[in-house]
């Protein structure tokens, strides 16, 4: 067992967990933050994407112990009283159907917007499609997801 402590969505979280506990299992099973999903379990689908120290990572491919001392943000940590602009954009642009991939899509989307803003680069439609390489959606065909991210990026820049 390993004692892990980290900050999740601004709150201190601490637990004693088996050493082989994945970050996604720590979030879902120990903290009951079930918004982060496990889709493929083979590190390809991106349903489990969360932010660790401000960067998008696949929480199914990260040990909880490796995130010791980290600042973790999950989909539950984005909304602040009202929906995050990216969440609102997904709702308004019909960027989801079944919704299973959506938490990972939104966490990847906010990460890419932040990175492109920091680098002063334009987040074009082509760039969004390229950036979504690690997030798989089996319903939408991606078009409305891409539109939602374009809209969400504009909302984040304005807000």
């Amino acid at each position: 067992m390993t004692e892990v402590s980290m900050t999740v969505n601004g709150k201190a979280a601490r637990a004693s967990v088996p050493d082989n506990t994945l970050l996604v299992d720590f979030l879902r099973e120990h903290l009951r933050l079930t918004g982060t999903h496990v889709g493929c379990d083979t590190s390809q689908c991106g349903a489990c994407v969360v932010h660790v120290n401000g960067r998008a990572v696949k929480s199914c491919t990260t040990l909880a112990a490796s995130a010791e001392g980290a600042e973790v943000t999950t989909i539950e940590g984005l909304a602040n009283g009202e929906l995050h602009p990216m969440q609102a954009a997904f709702k308004e642009n019909h960027g989801l159907q079944c919704g299973f991939c959506t938490p990972g899509m939104i966490m990847s989307a906010t990460d890419m917007v932040a990175r492109y803003q920091a680098a002063g680069k334009e987040l074009t439609e082509e760039a969004i499609r390229h950036e979504l390489e690690g997030n798989i959606c089996r319903c939408t065909g991606y078009h409305n997801i891409v539109r939602a991210i374009q809209d969400g990026a504009a909302k984040m820049a304005a807000g």
């Binding site: 390993t2 088996p18 050493d19 082989n20 994945l22 379990d41 083979t42 590190s43 390809q44 991106g46 994407v49 960067r55 998008a56 990572v57 696949k58 199914c60 491919t61 990260t62 040990l63 112990a65 490796s66 010791e68 990847s108 990460d111 890419m112 990175r115 680098a119 950036e131 390489e133 690690g134 997030n135």
Partner: protein
């Protein structure tokens, strides 16, 4: 995943000590290959020694044309390094094409080359750049480091600490990614040094892993152009055949990717 004992190393020496004390210890770098392998129960180390707490192993240093990249530097950090992009844009492009953004935030150059996946990108880059692999014990030329499928010249208890190279006068990298895994079905890195020496390394195609292609090197030494590639005969001997494509297809991809790398 089977049970494992997790360790967070505080220094390279600490990692070596913990590794040698473990019965079946394994170093954990970014974990983007090792953890999925463990989840599939294809690997079952008794102990994982996590290197990510060792600050000495992280960072890109560019001094003139001399480049050093710490072993625990992530692909995202290499891809986003503006100084490195000025002297060696192809390595920056290569790093930015590995996996996907979330994988690049964790995967490291040291982990990639120590694993030496036959379809990984970095082995081709480092071989074509004539890089030096630095370990806790010695320096190894990239030509001698990559010894076959998933095998390297690393000894037991030897840890990659950094890679270094002199940025060439010009270089390029192109790969044909598998549409599902994004691993290179064939990737070609071309580099021409200030001394005019041309090195061409191919990943994803060789049945014995990354290799240098002498025919392309000779042709490009005389004429650094895509027309020169047309005149080279690339044999399918020793290339991989699998469900994705056969050796003849890969032989053609070597030429096609070499041309794209030159473009």
């Amino acid at each position: 995943m089977y049970d494992v004992t997790y360790h967070r190393a505080t220094s390279v020496d600490d990692a070596v000590a913990r590794l040698s004390a473990a019965s079946e210890g394994q170093l954990l770098a970014g974990g983007q290959t090792l953890l999925p392998t463990m989840k599939h129960r294809l690997a079952a180390p008794s102990d994982l020694i996590d290197l990510r707490g060792i600050a000495d192993l992280v960072g890109v240093r560019v001094s003139g044309r001399s480049v050093t990249i710490g072993a625990m530097t992530t692909h995202a950090a290499v891809a986003g390094n503006a100084e490195l992009a000025k002297v060696c844009p192809a390595i920056v492009k290569l790093a930015g094409g590995i996996g996907d953004p979330a994988v690049r935030h964790q995967g490291t150059i040291g982990g990639s080359i120590a694993n030496n996946d036959p379809a990984a990108d970095y082995p081709a880059g480092l071989m074509a750049l004539g890089a030096t692999i630095h370990t806790n014990r010695r320096e190894i030329a990239a030509d001698d480091f990559f010894t076959g499928l998933f095998s390297t010249a690393l000894d037991e208890g030897e840890i990659v600490t950094a890679v270094s190279f002199d940025a060439p006068e010009t270089c390029g990298y192109a790969k044909f990614p598998n549409p599902a895994s994004r691993y290179a079905m064939t990737g070609v890195f071309v580099a021409k040094g200030g001394d005019g020496v041309v090195r061409v390394a191919v990943t994803g195609a060789g049945s014995d892993g990354v290799f240098r292609h002498e025919g392309l090197e000779q042709a490009l030494s005389k004429d650094w152009s895509s027309a020169a590639v047309d005149g080279v005969s690339v044999s399918a001997d020793g290339l991989m055949s699998d469900i994705h494509c056969d050796a003849a297809y890969r032989a053609n991809l070597i030429k096609a990717m070499a041309k794209r790398a030159l473009a």
